[in-house]
Subunit: 252 residues, 2 copies
């Protein structure tokens, strides 16, 4: 039972990292300027590194699984990532805001996960936190630059907020395995980090001259954490898994 | 040798139909108005029907092949469709112009293919020609409506022309297997239909108040017919083949 909870909880963390990495990697060669093309691609590589560590650990708890089977041979309903990370890149503003929302969440999450009773998860969190700290700084700077930039860039940020805000609620709505993991002292109580996340978002938004988003009266989407995904997820997997599916067991 | 030529030539015709069908099907549920959403999806179904007949015939010439293995289990380099049909949908104008260019080509091609020394290809051409005649009429009407519409729609057609024109040259540049098929009396000499195609395009463009496109000094892309595709092709196959790759041998 404990084993299953750790497995599900670890997969959830891994899937978040992998799917956002896959989305960001779509920018490779298409970024607005070369330096930022490299930055967003490096963030993808950081996230893939985190996902690998987590999948390797999850695979220990599942007979016959490897990091590759977990990443490439599951179907949509088995993925436990939140809906936010699977949303389309849209324009640069939308990609930036998605990264800012997620990295800020991941920052407060990994800070606490360092105290996990599970030594492996604690170690992965500690190692990853340095990278995530940079992701938060980088995406925050872009939110400010675009929000407090031209009329065009400001409007694009408002549009990105419209597109993405409804997917932020799920971050702080724990799935069953998250609640179980909290009880075991292994996982982080996402309710506890909601306040800090909102405060950070409001601070950066104020500097960016963007309106403080409100959760009141807003319908928040959910389902990804338990495998009920948006229409985009199947297309992401079709592309991401195509090599492994066409050439099963292939190695580079 | 003859068998191989018929096989390659038939696959080329089939791949053209299948890949354009796949592209058009991306509009399903996203068309500008319901009637046209249904029209473009029906054109997809017509093309899939043609592709099926052609794949079934090609499979007869290849040990172990079926229409499904030919459609779903080949890799990019084995596809022989022209580059035009794999180009992205873009906006409605681009989708319309791609259809108009291709259907007009297919119309003159199938007209002649009815006289093929290969009775099966002749029969498929005859049966398909009714559908293609409608595709030409439908897409021609849209070219005129958009070209001779508002400033916005006119500009979108000009933009579509910029995007697609360089891919029209390949239609009339025969690959080796096409030339061999002509020698055998099986295939159509695409050089022979170029003049008719250009005349029809110019007539419709004149009515649409669009400038006559010229081939002079224009670099024409080629390669698709011999398996050298644009960057888009791998993504199309990843999506199109995902079900068969993830669940090999699956049946509905």
């Amino acid at each position: 039972m404990t084993k299953e909870i750790i497995y599900n909880y670890t997969l959830h963390l891994a899937d978040n990292a992998l799917i956002l990495a896959q989305r960001n990697s779509e920018w490779c060669g298409h970024g607005p300027i070369l330096e930022q093309d490299i930055a967003i691609t490096n963030i993808s590589l950081d996230l893939i590194g985190q996902a690998r560590s987590l999948y390797q650990y999850a695979a220990e708890g599942c007979e016959g699984a490897t990091e590759d089977t977990l990443a490439y041979l599951r179907d949509v309903r088995a993925y436990k990532n939140c809906l936010l990370v699977e949303q389309p890149n849209g324009d640069w503003a939308q990609t930036i805001l998605r990264q800012f929302f997620f990295s800020t969440y991941q920052y407060f999450l990994y800070q606490r996960l360092q105290q996990s009773a599970d030594a492996t998860l604690a170690a992965i969190a500690e190692k990853s936190l340095k990278e995530v700290t940079y992701h938060v700084r980088w995406s925050s700077e872009w939110v400010i630059r675009l929000g407090d930039g031209t009329g065009e860039s400001h409007n694009r940020m408002l549009n990105a907020l419209d597109e993405l805000w409804a997917f932020t609620g799920e971050l702080f709505t724990p799935a069953g395995y998250e609640m179980e993991a909290v009880k075991l002292g292994i996982g982080v109580d996402v309710n506890e980090i909601k306040g800090e996340w909102e405060q950070r978002v409001n601070e950066i938004f104020a500097e960016a001259t963007l309106p403080s988003p409100t959760t009141e009266g807003v319908w928040m989407q959910a389902g990804g954490k338990t495998g009920v995904h948006t229409e985009h997820m199947g297309f992401i997997l079709a592309e991401m898994q195509s090599m492994q599916r066409a050439y099963p067991g292939c190695e580079w």
